[in-house]
């Protein structure tokens, strides 16, 4: 098993005819992801690398009822509409890659999705990969390898770095989830942790956090309450980030005194989560907790 995406994933790519959508459709197909349809309003009837394109998610879903997941490459102005369209067409897992979506838009579509029982990943995320089974995202597939460790991360490249270090050390991943760098995201640390807790193939969890918000602190609280029993290790980026400045990601900002790396590290360590000082230490920490 795995979480969110696996060999049963049948994918629709929204925004498939754009530059990013087209490029990553090719890479996802090469990885072995089953892409059943693409959507670009007004471009219905085309095909992209053999994937048929439709004008709407509804039409795509009608022609390919097995479709269960969507990935969104639509520009920020039109992303919210694309998410509502996917939800209303009955798609149950939606991965939003797009960056720069207004926070109020995200807040509303995340709320709507939750009310409909839909799992939304992102926005502003690299996506989800279950190594060897499906890649629904923009990450380089070759740095990941199948295994028994769940990986949750707020950043892209840093995740690849850590996954690569794990892979080199012989530790694979059940699933790696890039939850996104925006202030409001569909699936937080807490929800992703619970998914891994319930996944029988996952034996340990890596959390890659960064400054901003209080997701890491809330995750620590949940671990403290005994809701997560699997061992977890963490890395938090931004110990040297100054307050009040956005560090690349819209959500990476220390505001009103909350969201510091120190606070997160302290919260996690206080509930027994080992926090790596460098990303390179993650494989060793994992070996320690997996040996127990």
């Amino acid at each position: 098993m795995a979480i969110i995406v696996d060999e049963k994933t049948r994918l629709i790519v929204q925004g498939i005819t754009g530059k990013e959508g087209r490029f990553h459709t090719k890479l996802m197909l090469d990885y072995g992801t089953k892409i059943v349809a693409g959507v670009t309003p007004g471009k219905g009837g085309m095909d992209v690398y053999g994937v048929p394109v439709y004008d709407s998610v509804e039409e795509a879903k009608k022609a390919h009822p097995e479709a269960n997941t969507s990935i969104i490459f639509v520009p920020a102005k039109f992303s919210a509409d694309a998410v509502y369209e996917a939800i209303d067409a009955g798609i149950k897992t939606i991965v939003v890659i797009t960056e720069h979506i207004p926070v109020h838009d995200a807040m509303k579509f995340v709320d709507y999705g939750r009310s409909k029982g839909v799992t939304i990943i992102g926005p502003n995320c690299p996506g989800v990969i279950t190594p060897g089974k499906a890649k629904v995202g923009i990450m380089p597939g070759h740095v990941f390898t199948p295994g028994n460790v769940g990986l949750i991360s707020r950043s892209g490249t840093l995740t690849y770095e850590i996954a690569y270090a794990m892979t080199k050390a012989g530790i694979g991943q059940t699933t790696a989830v890039g939850i996104g760098g925006d202030p409001v995201i569909g699936t937080s640390f807490i929800e992703a942790l619970l998914m891994f807790e319930n996944d029988p193939d996952t034996d340990a969890i890596v959390m890659v956090g960064e400054i901003g918000g209080d997701m890491e602190e809330r995750a620590a609280k949940m671990i403290d309450e005994g809701k997560i029993t699997k061992p977890a290790v963490a890395f938090i980026a931004g110990r040297t980030a100054p307050p009040g400045k956005r560090m690349g990601h819209a959500g990476a900002i220390i505001m009103m005194g909350t969201g510091t790396a120190e606070g997160k590290i302290k919260a996690l360590e206080s509930v027994g989560v080992k926090v790596a000082r460098t990303p390179m230490e993650i494989p060793d920490l994992l070996k320690q907790v997996l040996r127990k």
């Binding site: 207004p102 926070v103 807040m107 690299p126 892209g156 040297t240 980030a241 690349g248």
Partner: protein
């Protein structure tokens, strides 16, 4: 994007919120007193420097004039007075409102609950961090369902819990609903009134702050673009970087940092610090950067006066190491070499090709980021 107080109050007024009667003066106004008189204002009046920094009052940017002579003098004075380094382009002149009490009210998005949250306190006039420190029990929070919106009874409940009763309570509730509607309609990161004055039977925002989500500006055609210099948020080099589309934040140290991806770039800063160096900046070239962007970034950091050495930490995912190497070489060619040592770590996609391009130009690249950071710190 931060709005000026007068812009925030204009918007509140449009939403039916009663704000102090006022007139706006632009720098160079020939007969300010005449203009104020025409607007129907009489001393005592408040002269308020319109700068986009918090804590204006304490910094001397808000003064009361009791006579016309005083007003004339204060207007001249405040136009010339820098507040935390910023000189105002506008002064807002308002009627002075005698008030018995100062409250605090704001709305932000709670990131974890993914809902708007209203914060209110009976102790206004100081900033929220200070209230949180000195009177934490006084802060009342209420989450709002973004689809249902804020209901009157909820607004009254908040008012009640900060000690309001009678007609003031109803006035507070309608103020809060106005503030909430502005918050939602304008995609605000923050809508705040502090202090919110209590005068007789009603409340009135003595100050108002509105910060609009930068990513939503395209929706709000009534809001004009800000000069970056006026925001007080960016250094000279941060403004230059924004004009070049570089994601750059200036820090205090001397090790220039370039990374790809926000998380990795922050981690690179942290590594430099952990091994005894001091990062000079954050510069993220993002995912999939090509030769041109790399060239621009490298040249920018070599030009940045505070850097003594530069550390580039690249993990190639979508970004290709050969493109990065080409960008570095192009930058060095254009500058005729670098006066500052450059330490490069390349790993991931097309690593070998990238390494080869650098070697042909006499540059060695590291694979291990820890070895690379130890090197740069030792220089």
């Amino acid at each position: 994007m931060k709005l000026f107080e007068f812009e925030a109050k204009d918007i509140l007024r449009k939403y039916g919120v009663k704000v102090p009667q006022s007139v706006l003066l632009e720098k160079g106004e020939q007969k300010p007193v005449e203009k104020i008189k025409q607007a129907g204002l009489e001393p005592p009046i408040v002269v308020k420097s319109q700068v986009l920094v918090a804590g204006r009052g304490k910094a001397g940017g808000i003064k009361i004039a009791k006579t016309w002579e005083e007003a004339e003098k204060l207007i001249e004075e405040l136009f010339e007075k820098p507040i935390k380094g910023l000189k105002p382009r506008y002064l807002l002149i308002e009627e002075a409102i005698p008030h018995e009490k100062e409250l605090y009210a704001s709305i932000i998005i709670d990131r974890s609950e993914r809902k708007p949250v209203i914060l209110a306190s009976q102790y206004g006039g100081m900033d929220i961090e200070q209230i949180a420190k000195e009177e934490p029990e006084s802060i009342v929070r209420m989450y709002v369902d973004p689809f249902l919106g804020l209901k009157s009874y909820q607004a009254r409940k908040i008012g009640k819990s900060i000690g309001l009763t009678g007609k003031v309570l109803n006035s507070f509730a309608s103020f809060l609903i106005g503030l909430y509607n502005v918050f939602m309609d304008y995609d605000a990161d923050l809508a705040e009134s502090n202090p919110l004055g209590v005068t007789g039977d009603s409340v009135i925002p003595l100050d108002a702050r509105l910060i609009i989500d930068d990513n939503s500006i395209y929706k709000h055609s009534d809001i004009s673009e800000r000069n970056l210099e006026d925001t007080g948020e960016y250094t000279e080099w941060e403004i230059k970087a924004r004009e070049m589309n570089l994601a750059f934040v200036e820090l205090d140290g001397d090790v220039g940092i370039i990374g790809n991806g926000a998380g990795l770039t922050m981690t690179t800063m942290d590594l430099v610090y952990l091994y005894g160096g001091k990062p000079a900046n954050f510069l993220d070239i993002g995912g999939g950067a090509g030769k041109e962007l790399v060239k621009t970034a490298v040249k920018f950091l070599i030009d940045l006066p505070k850097t003594k050495k530069i550390f580039m930490n690249i993990f190639g995912g979508i970004t290709r190491c050969d493109e990065v190497a080409k960008g570095i070489i192009a930058a060095l060619e254009e500058l005729g070499g670098s006066s500052k040592p450059l330490v490069i770590r390349l790993s991931g996609t097309n690593e070998e090709e990238g390494r080869k391009i650098l070697q042909e130009n006499g540059i060695d690249a590291y694979t291990d980021p820890i070895e690379a950071v130890q090197k740069v710190v030792s220089l």
